[in-house]
């Protein structure tokens, strides 16, 4: 019981507090504008790094000097904070930003991918495909209508992180990787509180998308290829927030207030629940 409390405290609540504190520090202390992307980009990416560092207090969790692929994730978090903070304006800068993000995604995949052939493809090809998918996901989330990029978006991202944690446990992939998803859940929840508290505008909230894509996709990928056969369904999980596009037009677009928030969360929760169920029922038997 004490151990569970430590894990929830250090692994979820502390990262949430760190992310919230970082966002408040930047918003109130540095006087960042409510449109500045670096508030949540920093809270997300740097918050994950500190969340990971705090978990090192638990014996046997990991180490700061990467010795295993997944131990690069906190550094990918730092990189995502830098990329997420940049605000592309104009077509040329958008293009450059895309190239920069693609390079960051490729570097992340290179660090996280095991040696040799992966998912039936040569390593380089699979890295390139994965980086392209990450870039596509980022762009599809970045161009969400402003109405769907409000304070609910960090809550949606936190929901995905929670689902990743549950799925990694349900599919019996790795308790350690599930704990990393728990840190991400805490961080995104902290960002959600910060978005509400600081009344951040959609432009600022989009700063959280690069940390989300790089970290959640990276972690899902590590979990997928860690198993033999790979748990391919995990690769679908980071794309779940795209379900909010269903509320961009049609009858769901007319919803407002709480109904709109519940609708967005439900749209994402449904595919997440299906993914977790499939992962659970297709996992090897316990004994």
């Amino acid at each position: 019981m004490i151990e569970l409390a430590v894990r929830v405290g250090l692994g979820i609540l502390a990262p949430a507090a760190v992310a919230l504190a970082l966002a408040l520090l930047l918003h109130r202390g540095v006087k960042a504008a409510a449109t500045d992307r670096y508030i949540l980009a920093t809270a997300g990416g740097v918050g994950f790094f500190f969340g990971y560092a705090l978990m090192l207090l638990v014996p046997g969790f990991g180490q700061l000097m990467p010795a295993s692929r997944w131990q690069w994730l906190p550094y990918i978090g730092l990189m995502s904070a830098v990329v997420g903070s940049l605000r592309p304006r104009g077509k040329l800068l958008w293009g450059l930003w895309c190239v920069l993000f693609a390079a960051a995604a490729l570097l992340s995949c290179e660090k996280l991918a095991p040696r040799g052939e992966m998912l039936g493809l040569p390593r380089l090809a699979s890295l390139a495909i994965l980086a392209a998918l990450m870039l596509s996901l980022t762009l599809l989330l970045e161009i969400l209508p402003a109405r769907l990029c409000g304070a609910t978006l960090p809550a949606v991202l936190a929901l995905v992180a929670a689902a990743l944690m549950v799925t990694l446990l349900a599919a019996a992939v790795s308790a350690r990787l599930a704990q990393l998803a728990g840190i991400l859940f805490g961080v995104f929840a902290g960002c959600w509180l910060a978005a509400l508290w600081c009344r951040l505008l959609p432009e600022a909230i989009c700063g959280l998308i690069p940390p989300f894509v790089l970290l959640i996709s990276g972690l899902a990928y590590v979990g997928c290829v860690d198993q033999d056969p790979p748990v391919l369904i995990l690769l679908l999980l980071p794309a779940a927030p795209l379900a909010v596009w269903a509320a961009a037009a049609g009858p769901l677009a007319k919803l407002t207030g709480r109904a709109a928030i519940i609708c967005q969360l439900a749209l994402v929760a449904i595919p997440l629940a299906i993914i977790a169920a499939v992962a659970f029922f297709t996992a090897p038997p316990a004994w």
């Binding site: 046997g60 990991g62 019996a172 790795s174 350690r176 860690d226 198993q227 033999d228 004994w287």
Partner: protein, 194 residues
């Protein structure tokens, strides 16, 4: 005491009866799952059924070098992906995962002896480098070795502290010490379905 000695004697006879000496050719003995067993036993700190949890490796190859009646060296390369457990399923996957051996990251484990001190009664102390989880550490362990006209047999059971090789997962739940059981002269037997 007599009963105990009798039991030891019976067990020793039982072992020698199951161990089939591996033929020596040109002073060398080729080791494979057909003539060797590399098994392990892990336990939980607090009772958690089923406990202990046993397993081993299904693919490896190695070589032992003998000089007359003395074992001179032994080395073995293990494919960590071939890890199996008696209860199989999720336990096998978990031991291969990022929580333990990380077999995608570290597909091989290796042991190379550097020194073998033999005594007259067949007992020996084997020292060598064990590479596991990407890290190499020196280990020493006792073994019972017999080199006869029929070939080589070796039996050893010893413990290693897995955290010395960076396998740090949940030391408060899963005991750090893992028992390794090595038997040259006994065929690896995988549980059904593995």
């Amino acid at each position: 005491m007599k009963r105990l000695l009798s039991l030891v004697a019976v067990l020793a006879i039982a072992y020698s009866a199951t161990a089939e000496p591996v033929p020596v050719a040109g002073g060398k003995v080729a080791l494979s799952p057909n003539n060797t067993k590399i098994n392990f036993v892990g336990t939980h700190a607090a009772p958690k059924k089923p406990d202990p949890r046993t397993g081993g490796f299904g693919k490896f190859k190695g070589e032992a070098v003998v000089d007359g009646k003395a074992l001179k060296s032994v080395s073995v390369d293990i494919e960590t992906e071939s890890l199996w457990t008696e209860i199989g399923g999720r336990l096998t996957n978990h031991l291969k995962s990022a929580d333990f051996l990380e077999v995608r990251e570290h597909p091989t484990a290796k042991f190379v002896s550097t020194r073998i001190e033999s005594a007259a009664d067949g007992k020996a102390k084997i020292t060598g480098n064990l590479t596991l989880h990407g890290q190499t550490k020196e280990v020493s362990f006792p073994a019972t070795v017999a080199v006869t006209d029929k070939g080589l047999t070796l039996a050893s059971e010893f413990k290693i502290d897995r955290t010395n090789w960076g396998i740090n997962y949940e030391p408060n739940q899963v005991v750090k010490e893992v028992t390794l059981k090595i038997a040259i002269g006994e065929k690896t037997q995988l549980p059904a379905g593995q």
